[in-house]
C-alpha cells in the first residue's frame, strides 16, 4: 500500500548553502580554457555588427541604426536641415554622439560574446579529450593487438594499463583501478573502478587510468561515446528564446516603439512651439528651440529613453544562466530547461542517494523466532555471498565480523539477483534457498514454501523502522531467521536546504520503497514536506502528473530506464551521468557528477537567473527617469522648462553627451552582474519583489542622477 503523508515544516534559520557555497569549494580542475576569452569576445563584438546579426536584438538594432544616421550627420551636418549654430561645433558634437552610440552597441555585443565564449570554451574542452589513441584490443585467443581507438566496436574487449587513456566508453569486466575523470567531471579526486556494480564499473573514453590494469568491454561505437554526445549537447544547445525572454522582448519592443513615436513627432511639436515663441519672444528664441531638436540630438534622446541596458544584457543573462549550470557540471539541453528550474513548484526526490547517503550499511542483525545471532549471521552471509551491492557487502562484512562463514567448495551454488518485482535477492546453495529482502516479500516467500511468519518479526521490523532504518528480513527456505538493520544516514545540511525551498514556495516530496514508518522517520529528519512510502519506480510518473494537474511545475532526478517516462514528463528532468542512455535522452539536463542532490542547486540557479533578469530590467527602466530629467529640460530650455534641469547640468550638449556616456558605460559595468547573477536569497515572491524595487528600482533612479552629474562636471563641454 502506498502511503502519502505530510511532515511538520521546520522553522530553522541556520546559515544557508547557496550555489557558490560548499559545492563551489570543491576542488575542481578548470575544464574550460578561458584564456583569450576576452580577445575573442572583442573580435566577436565587431562581427556582431553585421546587420543580419544585429537585427536579432531589437533595442540594440535601433541604436545601431542611430549610429549610422549620426555618422551621416557628422560627415554632413546640413544633411537633414541647415544648421543654425557653428557647423564645426555641430560636427564635433555629432561625432562624439556617433562614437558613444557605436560603443554602446559594441559593449552590448561584447557582453553577449563573453557569455557565448564561455559555452564554446566548454565544448572545446570536451573536444580536446576526444582524440584518437592506440588501444590494446584483446583477441579471442587472448593475444593483444594494438589498434586505433576509432576501430573499436561495441562488444570488443581492451586492456588498459596504468597511465593509459581509456580508448572508448565501456564497462570494467576485470581488475580494479583508479581513474582520473577530471577531463569530464572536473573532479580531481580519482574514482575507483571495478566490475560488478552499475556506477563503479562504467568507464568513459578520454579519461585516464592512474593505477593497476583493467579489462574493459566497449559499450559504444565510434562517435557514439559519452563525450561525443556531450559535445553534441553543448553545441546543439541553440539559443531558442525562453518564454520569459519572449515576454521581455515584447515589452522592450513596445517601449522602443512608444519612444520612437514620441521622438519622431517631437520636431513637429517643437516646430509649432518654436513658431509660437518666435512670434512672442523673437526669432532667436524660436531658433534656439529648433537647434535643440536636430537629428543627432533626437537620436540621442531616443537612445537614452529606450531600455538599452537590459536590451544589451538580455542575451548575456540567459547564456550566463546556462554557463552557471555547466559550471556545476550539469549539461543543459536548452536555456528553457534552466529557466524552468526557477519556476519549479514541486521537487520529487528519491530517498536513497538524494536525501540519504547512497550506501546503506548493515548495522545490526536482530534474531527472531528464537534463533541465535550466530545462526542469523550464517544465514545472512549465505544470502549475501553473491550480492555485489554496497548493502550486500556490508552485510557480508558484519556477518564475518560475527564469526560467520560459508563453505561453497564442491557445492552447487546460484546467486539470485534483486529485482523490483520480487524485492528480494539471495543464494541457492546446495539445494537450500537463502533469501533476504523486503519484509513483506520474505513473508510471501516463506508462506509459499509452507512456513509460518513469527510474531517477533513484526516487532523487529517496527523497531528498525522507528529508528529510521531499512529492515530486511532474512530466511532459509520456509523459516525466517531475523531482520537486518540497514542504517540510512540523512545527508548533512539538507534540512536547511528544504527550509530555504519551503520559504521560496517549493514543495518537496520524498519517494521511497521503504515502509511507511521508516519513510516518516526519514521525512521528519530531513524536513521534506511530503513523502510517498512503498513506492515503485512507476509511481514517480503518477506523482508528477498529479502535481502538474494542479498547475505546478515539477522537477525530478532519475538514472534508470524505468525513470525515462517520468523524466520526459517532468518539467525539469535531471538524469545522472552514470544512468542509462534512455534516461539521459529523456531528461533535459545531465549531471556529470551523478549527484541527485544537485537538483536543489539547479532550482536556486534557475531562480537566480529569473531574479537577475527582473532586477536588471527594473534598473534599466528606472534609469529612464534620470535620463529624462537630464536631456528634456536642457534641450527645451527655450520653451521655459529650464527649471526642470534639477541636476544643474551645464548645457544641452553636455547633458546629452553625459547621459549617453552613462548609457554606454552602464552596460560593461553590469556585465559581471549579468554573468555572475544577482546574489540569491531564499525569500518569497513578495519579499523578492519588494527587495528588487528597493535596490534596483530606487538604485536605478538615484545612480544615474549622480553618475550623469559627475560626468557633466568632468566634461569640458559648455
Amino acid at each position: 500500500m502506498k502511503t502519502r503523508n505530510g511532515s511538520a515544516p521546520s522553522t530553522s534559520s541556520r546559515p544557508i548553502r547557496v550555489p557558490s557555497g560548499r559545492r563551489g569549494d570543491r576542488k575542481h580542475t578548470p575544464k574550460a580554457q578561458h584564456q583569450g576569452l576576452y580577445q575573442r569576445a572583442i573580435r566577436e563584438s565587431f562581427v556582431k555588427l553585421n546587420p543580419r546579426v544585429a537585427v536579432r536584438n531589437p533595442v540594440m538594432f535601433v541604436v545601431w541604426l542611430g549610429t549610422l544616421i549620426t555618422l551621416l550627420v557628422t560627415i554632413d551636418p546640413n544633411l537633414f536641415g541647415t544648421v543654425q549654430a557653428d557647423i564645426g561645433q555641430q560636427r564635433l558634437l555629432n561625432g562624439i554622439i556617433t562614437c558613444i552610440l557605436f560603443f554602446t552597441v559594441l559593449f552590448a555585443n561584447f557582453a553577449e560574446a563573453v557569455a557565448e565564449g564561455r559555452g564554446k570554451a566548454q565544448a572545446d574542452a570536451l573536444r580536446s579529450t576526444r582524440s584518437d589513441m592506440i588501444a590494446r584490443k584483446l583477441l579471442p585467443d587472448g593475444k593483444i593487438q594494438e589498434v586505433n581507438s576509432t576501430e573499436l566496436r561495441r562488444g570488443d574487449q581492451v586492456k588498459v594499463i596504468a597511465g593509459d587513456m581509456i580508448p572508448a566508453d565501456g564497462e570494467v569486466i576485470q581488475g580494479i583501478g583508479s581513474v582520473d575523470e577530471s577531463a569530464i567531471t572536473g573532479e580531481s579526486a580519482p574514482v575507483l573502478k571495478q566490475p560488478g556494480t552499475d556506477i563503479a564499473s562504467s568507464v568513459t573514453g578520454g579519461t585516464r587510468l592512474l593505477s593497476d590494469e583493467l579489462i574493459v568491454r566497449i559499450t559504444s561505437d565510434p562517435g557514439q561515446g559519452f563525450i561525443d554526445r556531450m559535445i553534441a549537447l553543448v553545441e546543439g544547445a541553440e539559443r531558442t528564446k525562453t518564454p520569459n525572454e519572449i515576454a521581455l522582448t515584447v515589452l522592450l519592443a513596445v517601449l522602443t516603439q512608444v519612444f520612437l513615436i514620441v521622438v519622431a513627432t517631437t520636431p513637429s511639436l517643437s516646430g509649432y512651439i518654436a513658431g509660437f515663441l518666435g512670434n512672442m519672444a523673437g526669432a532667436a528664441a524660436g531658433d534656439r528651440l529648433r537647434t535643440g531638436t536636430s537629428i543627432a540630438i533626437l537620436i540621442s534622446l531616443l537612445v537614452a529613453l529606450i531600455p538599452t541596458t537590459i536590451g544589451g544584457l538580455l542575451s548575456a543573462i540567459g547564456i550566463a544562466g546556462m554557463d552557471r549550470v555547466a559550471q556545476f557540471n550539469v549539461i543543459a539541453t536548452s536555456g528553457r530547461a534552466v529557466e524552468a528550474c526557477g519556476d519549479v513548484n514541486t521537487l520529487v526526490l528519491d530517498k536513497t542517494g538524494t536525501i540519504t547517503l547512497g550506501n546503506r550499511l548493515a548495522d545490526e542483525f536482530i534474531p527472531v523466532n528464537g534463533h541465535s545471532i550466530q545462526k542469523v549471521a550464517d544465514v545472512c552471509l549465505a544470502a549475501s555471498v553473491f550480492d555485489e551491492t554496497p548493502e550486500g557487502r556490508s552485510i557480508v562484512q558484519l556477518a564475518q565480523k560475527l564469526g560467520a562463514s560459508v563453505d561453497l567448495e564442491g557445492k552447487s551454488t546460484e546467486g539470485i539477483e534483486f529485482s523490483a518485482r520480487t524485492r528480494m535477492s539471495g543464494t541457492d546453495l546446495d539445494g537450500k534457498e537463502y533469501r533476504k529482502g523486503a519484509v513483506d516479500a520474505i513473508k510471501g516467500f516463506v508462506r509459499s514454501r509452507g512456513g509460518q511468519v513469527p510474531v517477533t518479526l513484526d516487532e523487529a521490523y517496527e523497531h528498525v523502522s522507528r529508528l529510521g532504518g531499512t529492515p530486511l528480513a532474512v530466511c532459509q527456505g520456509h523459516e525466517i531467521y531475523g531482520v537486518i538493520y540497514l542504517k540510512d544516514i540523512v545527508k548533512p545540511g539538507l534540512r536547511e536546504r528544504f527550509d530555504q525551498l519551503r520559504r521560496m514556495g517549493v514543495k518537496t516530496i520524498m519517494l521511497t520503497g521503504d515502509n511507511r514508518i521508516t519513510a516518516s522517520v526519514i521525512a521528519k529528519e530531513a524536513g521534506v514536506d511530503d513523502f510517498i512510502a512503498e513506492a515503485t519506480p512507476e509511481d514517480k510518473i503518477d506523482v508528477i502528473r498529479s502535481e502538474q494537474a494542479q498547475g505546478k511545475l515539477v522537477a525530478m532526478t532519475g538514472d534508470g530506464t524505468n525513470d525515462a517516462p517520468a523524466l520526459a514528463q517532468a518539467n525539469v528532468g535531471l538524469a545522472m551521468n552514470s544512468g542509462t542512455q534512455a534516461a539521459k535522452e529523456a531528461a533535459n539536463m545531465v549531471d556529470l557528477d551523478s549527484d541527485p542532490t544537485k537538483l536543489i542547486d539547479l532550482v536556486t540557479i534557475g531562480k537566480q537567473l529569473l531574479i537577475t533578469r527582473g532586477a536588471l530590467t527594473t534598473f534599466s527602466v528606472a534609469n529612464d527617469i534620470a535620463k529624462y530629467f537630464a536631456i528634456i529640460p536642457t534641450i527645451f530650455a527655450a520653451a521655459g522648462i529650464g527649471a526642470l534641469n534639477i541636476m544643474g547640468l551645464k548645457s544641452a550638449q553636455s547633458a546629452i553627451v553625459s547621459a549617453l556616456i552613462y548609457n554606454a558605460l552602464i552596460i560593461p559595468v553590469l556585465i559581471p552582474l549579468a554573468l555572475r547573477g544577482v546574489q540569491f536569497r531564499p525569500l518569497t515572491a513578495d519579499q523578492l519583489l519588494q527587495r528588487n524595487i528597493l535596490i534596483y528600482g530606487l538604485g536605478g533612479i538615484i545612480a544615474p542622477f549622480i553618475a550623469i552629474k559627475v560626468i557633466d562636471s568632468i566634461l569640458p563641454l559648455s
Binding site: 546587420p51 543580419r52 537585427v55 536579432r56 536584438n57 531589437p58 538594432f61 535601433v62 541604426l65 544616421i69 546640413n78 544633411l79 537633414f80 536641415g81 541647415t82 531558442t240 528564446k241 519572449i246 515576454a247 522582448t249 515584447v250 519592443a253 513596445v254 522602443t256 516603439q257 520612437l260 513615436i261 519622431a264 537629428i295
Partner: protein
C-alpha cells in the same frame, strides 16, 4: 552562307542563354540578399516622397535635404514596422 547564318543563330542563342542565366543568378542573389533589395525599393519610393517633403517645406530645405529627410522618414516607418513585427513574432528575435 547557310552555315554562317546557323553560326550566328547559335551565337545569339548562346548570348541569350548566358544573359538569362545571369538574370537568374542575379534574381536568386536578390532573393537571398534582402537588404540591397529593400534599400533599392526605399530609394524608388523616395522618388515620390522627397518631392512631397520639398513641396511641403517651402524654401526651408534644399532638394538634397528634402531627399534625405524623405529617406529618413521612410527609414523611421520601416523601423516602426519592424518593431511591430518583433511584438507579434518575438520568438524569431
Amino acid at each position: 552562307m547557310k552555315l554562317n547564318s546557323l553560326k550566328s543563330s547559335l551565337l545569339l542563342l548562346q548570348t541569350v542563354s548566358q544573359s538569362l542565366e545571369a538574370i537568374l543568378v542575379f534574381g536568386s542573389e536578390w532573393r537571398r540578399q534582402k537588404l540591397p533589395l529593400y534599400l533599392f525599393l526605399a530609394l524608388c519610393l523616395n522618388l515620390f516622397v522627397a518631392p512631397i517633403v520639398y513641396a511641403a517645406s517651402g524654401n526651408e530645405f534644399s532638394r538634397t535635404q528634402a531627399w534625405a529627410l524623405g529617406l529618413l522618414g521612410l527609414g523611421t516607418l520601416a523601423l516602426s514596422i519592424y518593431l511591430f513585427f518583433v511584438m507579434f513574432v518575438p520568438e524569431k528575435f
